[in-house]
């Protein structure tokens, strides 16, 4: 593996920021660390960069142990949330800074700066100063500066957080395109699930200094390994359930027997949490194999192309959200309407019960009725 983190641990005083952390990233892979604030993702990134030294474990790039190598000798490019462009230098000088440190001849430096300015679509901005550029332009310059030194690994620490939504989207695509073009191994830190899902080859979901799950965006979204991942990634409906027959994947919610596509890990008779993605639920009876729940509409939100309907499930103190496409010829249900909801067995995820799991974004069962 090109980038290998093994048993990485970091403690600040009594607080363990990162517990034993393992990761193997292939050359050219785009890996995202995803998690809420304080989950240890930035600390892990900073250990790869050399700004923090791990208390235990090893960090290897292309087989070379770099855990104790000073930051300025790691040849690792870093892009910061606050851009961190040198205010006293022009755009060209910012990009050339790392090359000067490596004593690259002036002519070669100039050519490389021009090449990178082309890459970030700012060929005429070399003579400008950072304060003359917009936030998005500054971050592109910061990316060019980090790439100028031809780093072995590119690290990005929430690079889009300070930008507005529209620029964030376009720059996100630009970062991915440049990363693919250069084939550079990249580690991207974000708390934005959409960013992680759309950019990454693989996502490492973290919570309280530990890895919750590592997988492709599809694996993380469709088959969350823990309740935390299920709650954190995407919008999710969580319902309390009792396992009635673990082997055949049957659970009971509000007196109704529901069926999962496969066997349930939790033993029969135990409590579990059932997770349902809003897009998997339809209004009506569904197919012959579908699971069904009844409830009354508690809220209807118009989101443009999507209409999100919240339904209070009968017999359970929980609200289920479902998304339907906006149809201008058909009025959405009204608050108080009785609805039958259906979803296929494949959409029903039975998660091990985690009583200490706190409320997180996207947790629809916690939404007010």
């Amino acid at each position: 593996m090109f980038l290998s983190l093994s048993g990485i641990r970091k403690q600040f005083g009594d607080h363990v920021a990162v517990h034993s952390f393992d990761l193997d990233a292939a050359e050219g892979e785009f890996v995202s660390f995803l998690g809420p604030s304080g989950c240890g993702k930035t600390t892990t990134l900073r250990m790869i960069a050399g700004f923090e030294l791990p208390d235990a474990g090893s960090i290897r790039i292309a087989g070379e142990e770099i855990g104790r190598v000073p930051a300025n000798r790691r040849n690792v490019g870093m892009v910061f949330q606050s851009y961190a462009l040198f205010p006293n230098m022009s755009v060209a000088d910012n990009i050339a800074f790392g090359l000067k440190m490596r004593k690259v001849p002036a002519a070669e430096r100039k050519a490389r700066v021009a090449e990178l300015l082309e890459l970030i679509h700012l060929p005429q901005s070399g003579g400008k100063y950072p304060y003359e550029l917009s936030g998005g332009m500054q971050q592109r310059v910061a990316l060019a500066r980090a790439l100028a030194i031809r780093p072995r690994v590119l690290l990005l620490d929430e690079p889009l957080s300070a930008l507005d939504a529209k620029i964030r989207l376009s720059l996100r695509q630009e970062i991915r395109a440049i990363q693919r073009q250069l084939g550079i191994t990249t580690v991207y830190v974000t708390h934005d699930q959409e960013e992680a899902l759309s950019l990454s080859d693989r996502i490492v979901v973290m919570s309280q200094g530990r890895i919750e799950q590592t997988g492709t965006p599809s694996e993380i979204y469709n088959a969350p390994a823990t309740e935390f991942v299920a709650r954190f990634v995407g919008t999710l409906n969580l319902l309390p359930a009792t396992v009635t027959d673990a082997a055949s994947g049957r659970v009971r919610i509000a007196g109704r027997e529901l069926r999962a596509a496969s066997a349930v890990e939790a033993p029969s008779g135990s409590s579990a949490t059932v997770a349902l993605r809003p897009e998997a639920i339809v209004i009506g009876d569904g197919g012959s194999e579908a699971n069904r729940l009844d409830g009354s509409v508690s809220d209807v939100t118009f989101l443009g192309s999507i209409v999100r309907i919240r339904v209070r499930v009968e017999g359970v103190d929980a609200v289920v959200a479902l998304d339907t496409f906006n149809n201008p010829h058909e009025a959405p249900p009204r608050i108080g309407d009785h609805l039958r909801l259906a979803f296929p067995p494949e959409a029903l995820l039975v998660l091990p019960h985690a009583p200490d799991a706190g409320p997180v974004a996207g947790d629809e069962s916690l939404a007010p009725a």
Partner: protein, 283 residues
């Protein structure tokens, strides 16, 4: 209705009459003695070489002072010592303030307290201590001109602590020190290079403020220089005051003009660099 609306607006624009009165009293407190000194310095009579008449007011006192080799010598010595003091202060305090902010922020109150010591220990106490240590052997530095000036520079560096440290620390607070340092490190820069290429240029305004404040202190310092027997500008002016009438006033005005020119230079250079050193992301 219109008058009722415009009256408070006018007052807001021009401020309260009481504020103006206090401001004018404050200005008078400083300006009247200055005008009186200028007026007195112009009372020295100029003798017309042709008619033999005495002309008043005249710049005769200024002419005498500027022609005096001791004045020029004292001024140049003070200026030279001031420049060395500024260089030593910058080399000592910029890395210190940088390191304290970046690595040991908890030590900041202690360092600040140390830099305030010159306000607690009067120069006369400081100079007696210095003479006691550096005049007798084995550290008899005060027996040579070079040694005396070196000790004087050390004393002035200490005197400039409160001004220079605060100027540097304030400058450091305006930049994202940690991120800029880490950005430079990730690009391959070691500590000396980070300081020289990234931190120093972004502190230009703050360093100039500290430098010129130090210049002003050293140019007018009397107590320490006098006790050490150095021929700097302060003791020269004092000596002049004991023997002459109008020349000390002229000398004071000249030194005042030099200090103001230095302050004016801060403003000009600071404005010229404001654009370049504006924090990234500023509109």
């Amino acid at each position: 209705m219109t008058a009722a609306v415009t009256a408070p607006r006018r007052r807001r624009r021009w401020g309260s009459p009481w504020a103006w009165l206090i401001f004018l009293l404050g200005v008078s407190y400083f300006v009247i003695p200055l005008i009186a000194t200028i007026e007195f310095s112009l009372r020295a009579a100029y003798k017309d070489p042709v008619t033999g008449e005495f002309i008043r007011p005249s710049l005769a006192a200024y002419e005498l002072v500027l022609k005096d080799p001791k004045f020029v010598g004292g001024l140049l010595t003070s200026f030279r010592i001031a420049l060395i003091t500024i260089a030593v202060s910058l080399l000592l305090l910029v890395p210190t303030a940088y390191w304290v902010r970046l690595k040991v922020p908890r030590a900041r109150p202690v360092v600040e307290l140390i830099t305030l010591m010159p306000f607690v220990i009067p120069p006369v106490v400081l100079v007696f201590g210095l003479i006691r240590i550096y005049a007798p052997p084995p550290l008899a530095f005060l027996n040579s001109t070079f040694g005396t000036e070196a000790v004087l520079v050390g004393a002035y560096v200490v005197l400039s602590f409160p001004y220079m440290y605060r100027a540097v620390d304030t400058g450091l607070s305006t930049i994202d020190l940690r991120t800029l340092t880490e950005a430079a490190q990730s690009l391959g820069a070691g500590w000396p290079r980070v300081l020289w290429s990234v931190i120093f240029p972004n502190l230009r305004g703050a360093l100039l403020s500290g430098a010129f404040l130090t210049l002003a202190i050293v140019m007018g310092e009397y107590t320490i220089a006098s006790f050490m027997g150095t021929k700097t500008f302060g003791p020269y002016l004092s000596l002049l005051g004991q023997n002459k009438a109008y020349e000390p006033a002229a000398g004071s005005i000249i030194s005042f003009a030099i200090t103001w020119a230095a302050m004016f230079a801060i403003v000009i250079i600071g404005r010229a660099n404001r654009g370049r050193t504006q924090p990234a992301g500023a509109p």
